[in-house]
């Protein structure tokens, strides 16, 4: 149905935009091991994006590439979090921590979706995201407890990331209407908070007291960053409409 398609778009767009951001790091990471690790995470995310978008496309007779390359900014359904700039490595890790904690619980629950396809994609994805989550958590510990500079930077990275946490957990008519099929974002909040608290306790960090930014990504109201991301991502495909690659 179109509602399921809309829901799959949200999941797919988060993964796609995140992969697009992470892809930048490949050849620029702090060490070769991280070129590999961030590359792996980006690859997993692009894999999830393809699955979700291909499935979403059924609702409108479109392919994953139609959706990725030929939608306008207001047709994307990504959250503001994944649109945020990479910044330094600490900021990327902070964003990665939040998104993978969120995706982990989300996919773990989506495995029980009444929609078999969503359940199957989630069952595969959750294992990979578990690794992403672990990767981010390990780095948060290393950076928070490493050197003075790394600590300053991860604190700053978390501070810059936190305004975009709130949007992830907002319910709306679409998800409440898809009871049993979609996972309610608000229901993921507690697990998220618990996981963050235990990590931050070990890392001697605090959840920053910053106000949440108004989101709107699920309705096509994006941060000012998305336009730039799409201009780059879509430029070649749009120069050759109808071409296959």
């Amino acid at each position: 149905s179109e509602a399921v398609g809309e829901y799959a778009l949200r999941l797919g767009d988060d993964a796609l935009i995140l992969a697009q951001r992470l892809g930048w790091w490949i050849s620029r990471a702090p060490e070769l091991e991280e070129d590999v690790a961030l590359g792996n995470i980006a690859l997993d995310q692009i894999g999830h994006a393809r699955s979700f978008l291909a499935y979403a496309g059924h609702a409108w007779g479109k392919t994953e590439d139609d959706l990725a390359y030929f939608r306008g900014e207001d047709e994307f359904r990504s959250c503001h979090l994944v649109e945020q700039p990479n910044g330094d490595f600490a900021r990327t890790i902070a964003r990665q921590l939040v998104i993978s904690q969120y995706q982990f619980t989300l996919y773990a629950r989506l495995m029980n979706s009444a929609d078999d396809t969503l359940a199957a994609i989630a069952a595969k994805a959750v294992k990979e995201v578990d690794y992403h989550r672990d990767h981010a958590r390990q780095w948060v510990l290393r950076l928070a407890l490493g050197t003075e500079e790394s600590r300053r930077r991860i604190v700053e990275g978390i501070l810059l990331t936190w305004p975009y946490v709130g949007e992830l957990f907002e319910d709306d008519d679409l998800v409440t209407g898809l009871d049993g099929v979609a996972v309610r974002p608000s229901g993921l909040r507690q697990a998220f908070d618990t996981d963050i608290e235990s990590l931050f306790a070990e890392a001697e960090l605090e959840v920053p007291a910053v106000p949440f930014a108004v989101g709107g990504g699920r309705n096509g109201r994006h941060s000012e960053h998305l336009g730039y991301i799409l201009a780059e991502m879509q430029v070649l495909a749009r120069e050759h409409p109808g071409a296959t690659w």
Partner: protein, 314 residues
């Protein structure tokens, strides 16, 4: 000396030299230089392709390209490890690279101008690399040979993917076909020059062959490569920008038109289109990552200290 004799015997038998074995200083030096150059080439070689990750025109191609560039980082890791067994640390090799003191394959100083370059690099550059590297799987130094086995397997996968990109373009729209032909035109000669100068200008090759590091001469490998691509270009329905390619019945070898070795030397001397950019990017990534590496080291040291304290207390 007995050690030298033992070494000579192993080489004569075509056996493998392992890290714990004695080896002549010149052998160690030659290998360290060659393996680290090879590692650097993998790392710098990530850049022209990384240039198209964010702009890849389909999600499938984006995923394949990401995986490829990531594999190159992996190859760099194997190779630095192999070189480290000869007694030089990765850090010091990296420092040489960044200081502009170390070489890497000159071909990566050409820009990846269009998407079709992802095809041409895969097909021609990886193709030439494989032709060079397959014999290296039998290189006398064990860790190098074993690294090459792993790398060649992945590279041939990459080459096939590059070929597929070109094939898709060659069968696509007129603009795509032109893009493909243009990329082949630009990468053809540089890929042939990847095998190094003609044999008469390559004095170092002799010693490497005597040590069973190198197995075939530059010209021999180049000729084989030409023979391979001259067939494959037909399948693509494109042309190679060289009307002098022919098979010499007398020698049984493929021949090609003259190459601009002056350009080769210019690029080698730092005057290619992207030399400065490639080094700058590597230096930037290295410098920007310094605090991260320091943090990881500091954290590991703290964890180790905590661990040994706990052990003592127990």
């Amino acid at each position: 000396t007995a050690e030298q004799e033992q070494f000579d015997r192993l080489i004569a038998e075509d056996s493998r030299i392992e890290p714990r074995d004695w080896m002549p200083e010149a052998y160690r030096k030659t290998l360290t230089r060659q393996i680290s150059q090879h590692a650097h080439s993998e790392i710098i070689g990530m850049q022209p392709e990384a240039n198209w990750i964010t702009r890849a025109p389909s999600l499938k191609r984006k995923a394949i390209l990401m995986a490829k560039v990531q594999d190159e980082a992996g190859h760099g890791l194997y190779l630095y490890s192999a070189a480290e067994t000869l007694g030089t640390t990765r850090d010091s090799m990296m420092a040489d690279l960044i200081a502009g003191k170390a070489r890497y394959s000159s071909i990566f100083n050409y820009p990846a101008r269009t998407w079709a370059d992802m095809g041409a690099i895969g097909w021609l550059v990886d193709g030439a690399a494989i032709a060079n590297q397959v014999p290296l799987c039998r290189a006398s130094y064990g860790p190098y040979g074993r690294a090459m086995v792993r790398i060649c397997k992945e590279e041939s996968f990459h080459q096939r993917q590059g070929f597929e990109i070109l094939l898709e373009l060659a069968n696509g729209t007129e603009a795509q076909k032109q893009m493909a032909q243009d990329a082949v035109n630009r990468w053809y000669a540089p890929s042939l020059m990847m095998f190094g100068p003609p044999d008469e200008d390559s004095p170092n090759s002799q010693q490497s062959m005597a040590w069973n590091i190198k197995r075939f001469s530059n010209d021999e490998l180049r000729s084989r490569f030409v023979g391979m691509i001259v067939e494959q270009i037909k399948t693509l329905g494109l042309t190679l920008p060289d009307d002098q390619i022919n098979y010499n019945e007398a020698t049984g070898k493929w021949e090609h038109g003259p190459l601009d070795w002056n350009e080769f030397k210019e690029v080698l001397a730092g005057r290619g289109p992207c030399n400065a950019q490639r080094l700058e990017r590597r230096r930037e990534a290295h410098d920007d990552g310094a605090w991260v590496r320091e943090a990881a080291a500091a954290y590991a040291a703290k964890q180790a200290a905590k661990h040994s304290e706990m052990k003592e207390a127990a």
